[in-house]
């Protein structure tokens, strides 16, 4: 399974905007609950394949969608705190 990352944002309005910008660019994105150990700013985050991190950051910056930060989801952490898939 490919390494995953999450884009952490400040608000749901940014999460949904990020989801839309990245989907339109043809990227593989999924709206997920923000893993609690990473942030409590916003309940939703955008999960992406880790290899797309840099391109996502560029696309979101160009579109004016503010990003808090992008975090790798390590296998170990995923094991600690499983998060269900939802949305989209």
């Amino acid at each position: 399974m490919a390494e995953l990352a999450v884009i952490l944002v400040h608000s749901t309005s940014h999460a949904i905007a990020a989801e839309r910008v990245l989907k339109r660019a043809g990227l593989e994105v999924k709206l997920v609950p923000t893993p609690r150990h990473l942030s409590s700013n916003c309940g939703s985050a955008v999960r992406i394949p880790a290899r797309d991190g840099a391109v996502c950051e560029q696309l979101l910056q160009a579109a004016g969608v503010p990003v808090d930060r992008i975090e790798l989801l390590s296998e170990r952490k995923r094991g600690q705190e499983p998060f269900s898939e939802k949305g989209s």
């Binding site: 400040h10 608000s11 749901t12 309005s13 940014h14 999460a15 949904i16 905007a17 839309r20 709206l31 609950p33 409590s40 700013n41 916003c42 309940g43 939703s44 579109a63 004016g64 969608v65 503010p66 939802k86 949305g87 989209s88």
Partner: protein, 386 residues
């Protein structure tokens, strides 16, 4: 029935508007920004649809810089109360609506200074007219893009350039022009633009908002209403980012679902095509009314220089009587009186009696306009012949 009150609220709406609202209430129903479940996310997607449509219509690249409020009045209040601290000076046109005047009269008692730039007899203004009224303390310039009384359109591009040259923020009241005339917030360099969702944007009542230029630093503009946004819930301070900063409280998503459909309809039809149709109807109204003895038309005589709003008086008759008779005898629905804009009526010299206002819209037909003109002829004829 002939509905000529589109300057108050447009009617009918495209069928897709009611459909989108029903779909939201039936299938989604949730509040966005909170909870993070599938329905809350869907509600947020609907709100983003509305932001994207409005951004495209008004010439903004980033839809997150579209903020939704209950109506244009709330958006205007947000800016006026936010920027006009005691001692600040604001310059406005002589054609402003009470949505601007009333907050300003209140802010004046708190120490803000207000200067009204006189307009010509037809309500028109140029950037040069404004320039001599600017002071070192001028914080804000407010211009009604098109008069809701007589349709006079102001040169906002030219006025925006003036505001930029002097480093003064510009607030445009586009209640009457959104969806009816081309607007380019980015291209024209308009800092802040307030819109009604329920007029030319063809959405339902209870929608409107503020569009914020990329260059405008929102740290300068405090939030008027503060409260829950769903974001940063552990903080007791209002978020400092867009759009959450100005959108506290559960939003009117059912209204925004309708607004998104309304604006999409406008974009598909094309603002330029809508403007041409409305200008054609306005031109016919002006030509027809001009021929009637005892009728006096206010504002620019050329339909190309006005939004689809025509105000007139009938000699010897009160505007309210004329409107009542037009409705009772001919089924013509219009609005008499002062149209929430006593300042504009003062400029036009129609205080205190006001005018009868015909405001055609996208769905009015040439036949309806001819029938409305015939109705005025009947009413005015009765007035002049006893």
């Amino acid at each position: 029935m002939i509905y000529l009150d589109n300057a108050a609220t447009s009617w009918p709406k495209p069928p897709g508007v009611a459909d989108a609202m029903v779909r939201f209430l039936r299938d989604v129903g949730a509040s966005p920004g909170r909870s993070g479940h599938a329905l809350a996310n869907e509600a947020e997607r609907i709100r983003l649809d509305a932001r994207e449509a409005v951004a495209e219509l008004l010439g903004l690249r980033n839809p997150l810089r579209v903020v939704f409020t209950a109506n244009a009045t709330a958006a205007l209040n947000l800016v006026l109360h936010g920027l006009l601290t005691p001692g600040a000076h604001v310059v406005i046109s002589g054609m402003e609506h009470n949505a601007v005047m009333r907050p300003l009269r209140s802010l004046e008692t708190g120490g803000a200074a207000v200067t009204i730039v006189p307009c010509g007899a037809d309500g028109a203004l140029t950037a040069a007219d404004i320039e001599e009224y600017l002071r070192p303390t001028t914080r804000l310039l407010v211009v009604n893009h098109a008069s809701n009384v007589c349709g006079t359109v102001q040169p906002v591009g030219e006025i925006a350039a003036l505001a930029r040259r002097h480093g003064i923020a510009l607030l445009v009241d586009a209640a009457q022009t959104g969806g009816c005339r081309p607007i380019d917030v980015t291209g024209d360099g308009i800092d802040l633009l307030a819109f009604s969702g329920h007029k030319g944007l063809l959405g339902p009542t209870g929608t409107g908002g503020l569009v914020i230029h990329e260059d405008f630093d929102i740290d300068r503009l405090p939030a008027l209403i503060q409260g829950g946004t769903g974001s940063r819930s552990e903080h007791e301070r209002q978020p400092d980012f867009l759009p959450d900063k100005y959108e506290a409280g559960t939003p009117n998503i059912v209204g925004l679902a309708g607004l998104a459909a309304g604006v999409r309809f406008v974009l598909e039809r094309g603002v330029e095509a809508i403007r041409r149709h409305e200008q054609d109807l306005t031109g016919r109204l002006l030509a027809g009314l001009r021929e009637i003895a005892g009728v006096r038309i206010l504002g620019p005589q050329d339909a190309g220089q006005r939004a689809a709003v025509v105000s007139f008086t009938v000699a010897g008759r009160a505007s309210s009587d004329v409107a009542y008779e037009l409705e009772q005898r001919f089924g013509v629905l219009c609005r008499p009186g002062l149209h929430c804009a006593p300042l504009a009526h003062r400029t036009l010299g129609t205080l205190p009696g006001g005018t009868v206002r015909f405001a055609p819209g996208l769905f009015n037909t040439v036949e309806q306009i001819a029938a409305a003109v015939d109705a005025v002829r009947e009413v005015a004829g009765a007035a002049t012949h006893g």
